[in-house]
């Protein structure tokens, strides 16, 4: 058994070092899907959290509570809902999104949005209380104040994006459900590892596992540096 593991490790390192075409394409797809998902999430999260941090309006507390509750929704449930919507008979079936990278992007965006919104809101709320009056009293217009706000909050905001990215790039079940783990089309690191392991074919699984671990490791280090640099 030990030989088995060591052998797999040895061959997997070869795969990584030789920049194996398949490994490379899987890693690339993983990154592009998850980065796109985080991008779409932030398009929703940033304006929403800014609105929540700056404005008082009826139902604001409700929106905040909902956002926080959505963080607890299991990924597999999101996968199910997205599947039902984009499957051929679903309301969005005509677009033929199921088992495409876009399906994975949609599901991952839905998973990341509450996380990024909640973290961004907490960050902006704290920064607003300190920055707003100073900027306004020094003559900032509404837009200038918002720009200053984002400048002051950039590190913790980026930290929020990283947390969201780490969450979605490591997601397996949901991604498998809507992406289908199709070789060369929707196979990403996590789904590939799951499949190859089940097949008993450890080389690719271990190679991808090492890369995924390294990604998680690097993201955490970056996160800690950012949080350490923040006040």
């Amino acid at each position: 058994m030990m030989d088995n593991i060591l052998g797999a490790l040895n061959r997997s390192l070869e795969l990584i070092i030789s920049l194996d075409r398949e490994v490379f394409s899987i890693v690339l797809l993983s990154f592009s899907v998850s980065l796109t998902a985080v991008f779409f999430s932030s398009m929703i999260s940033l304006p929403l959290s800014l609105l929540l941090a700056l404005k008082k309006f009826p139902g604001k507390k409700f929106v905040v509570n909902i956002t926080n509750s959505l963080m607890a929704v299991p990924a597999v449930a999101i996968g199910l809902v997205v599947y039902l919507f984009i499957s051929r008979r679903g309301p969005l079936g005509v677009f033929g999104l199921l088992y495409t990278p876009w399906a994975m992007i949609i599901a991952q965006s839905l998973l990341a949005t509450p996380i990024i919104t909640s973290l961004s809101y907490q960050t902006l709320k704290r920064v607003v209380s300190m920055v707003k009056d100073t900027a306004v009293s020094l003559g900032a217009s509404g837009w200038q104040m918002v720009v200053t706000l984002f400048k002051e909050a950039k590190s913790p905001l980026v930290a929020g994006f990283i947390v969201g990215f780490a969450r979605v790039i490591g997601e397996t079940g949901m991604t498998m459900m809507v992406g289908g783990n199709i070789r060369g089309a929707t196979r990403v690191m996590t789904t590939a590892i799951a499949l190859e392991t089940m097949k008993g074919d450890f080389e690719l699984a271990v190679a991808l596992g090492i890369i995924l671990l390294a990604v998680a490791f690097v993201l955490n280090i970056v996160l800690q540096i950012i949080q350490g640099a923040g006040r």
């Binding site: 920055v131 900027a135 020094l138």
Partner: protein, 369 residues
């Protein structure tokens, strides 16, 4: 720019913080708002600088009510006013960029020269590249002042500018403020609970108590003639008495129990026999070993019960000796406090237990209800 608040009220969650505040800021001079912590000074400042809205009442800028101003006009007004907050917030960048911030917002064309000059004024040119987050509170306060004055505001609001400052920073800050008024003709509005400062600076003083302005006037008026026991206690007059107004042989006097002091009658006073407050500033009381032959009509013998030396200024507590048998006043043994110099104490050989004469003018007794 002329700023005037009319009947300003402000409540937070039903709690009234300001009540019917009327305030007119005198241009090109120092206006002091004094009051204890929690009196509403900061809230008033936030409303007068358009950082917050009054629950009711109106603020006028050069006669225009703030509600009539469009958001562009409000921005215009805000850009003629600068505010130095009590705990200024520093942007997460260098000192230099912090000072340049407001100028950049205005797309100023000579940012470099103005920032350099501003930093030189507050004496911090040497740390301009340093991160503003690493500053001490005194340095941060000075950077914040530079950040405000480079904007060349017409009105500068200072919220407790010298709180938490070391003596050196305080001196720098004081002389900077005086320079701004004298040379640049900037209107200063300063909130403080430090009375010495208010007295040193305030050409116009507003006494704020629990959200209401209880007295306003020149610094001298407020300090010499506080119009309420609150104002008197707050401005620390030293000798605050409660007594009854009496008329003795046609002369208006105040019965303080042990002694009766002559006062200058002012029309509009309460009837004879009514209970009133009176204050006498300690420095208005003269001490002597022998009776003084002067125009001052109040001269009494007292026993020295305490002597305190505070850095060359000696505070002497006196207990009046004469007891009037027919006094109807409820206040009996209120000691008087006089202030003399170290030198005159030595010359008089003043010691606890000695009897001395203390003398003050009738006009120095400030009577109020």
């Amino acid at each position: 720019m002329n700023i005037e608040g009319e009947k300003i009220c402000k409540s937070f969650n039903g709690k009234e913080v300001l009540r019917d505040v009327n305030i007119e800021i005198g241009e090109s001079r120092i206006n002091c708002v004094i009051g204890p912590n929690g009196a509403g000074k900061t809230t008033l400042f936030r409303i007068l600088t358009l950082l917050d809205r009054a629950t009711s009442g109106e603020v006028y800028f050069d006669g225009y009510p703030s509600f009539s101003l469009s958001s562009e006009e409000k921005l215009e007004v805000r850009r003629r006013i600068a505010v130095l907050m009590q705990n200024p917030f520093m942007f997460n960048t260098s000192v230099w960029k912090n000072v340049a911030y407001g100028l950049k917002l205005r797309k100023d064309t000579s940012i470099r020269e103005k920032v350099e000059k501003g930093l030189k004024t507050v004496g911090l040119s040497s740390i301009k590249e340093q991160s503003a987050l690493t500053l001490s509170s005194g340095e941060a306060q000075r950077v914040a002042l530079a950040r405000a004055i480079v904007l060349e505001p017409e009105v500068l609001f200072l919220d407790e500018p010298m709180a938490n400052l070391d003596p050196l920073s305080t001196r720098i800050m004081e002389s900077l403020i005086l320079n701004l008024v004298r040379e640049k003709k900037v209107t200063i509005v300063m909130a403080t609970h430090n009375l010495i400062q208010a007295r040193k600076f305030g050409e116009r003083v507003f006494v704020l108590r629990q959200g209401e302005i209880v007295q306003e006037g020149t610094a001298d008026e407020v300090f010499r003639h506080p119009n309420s026991s609150f104002a008197a206690e707050f401005v620390e007059v030293g000798n605050l008495f409660r007594g009854r107004l009496i008329s003795e042989k046609g002369i208006q006097k105040l019965d303080l129990g042990k002694i009766r002091v002559e006062v200058v009658y002012k029309s509009g006073w309460k009837k004879t026999g009514d209970s009133v407050f009176a204050t006498i500033r300690p420095e208005d009381i003269l001490l002597s070993l022998k009776p003084l032959h002067s125009s001052a009509r109040n001269s009494f013998l007292g026993e020295v019960t305490n002597i305190e030396d505070r850095a060359g200024i000696v505070s002497v507590t006196l207990e009046p000796i004469a007891r009037l048998p027919d006094s109807k006043s409820e206040s009996i043994s209120t000691p008087f406090v006089a202030i003399i110099t170290e030198r005159s104490r030595e010359e008089m050989g003043l010691k606890v237990g000695m009897d001395v004469y203390f003398t003050f003018k009738a006009s120095c007794v400030n009577v109020f209800e």
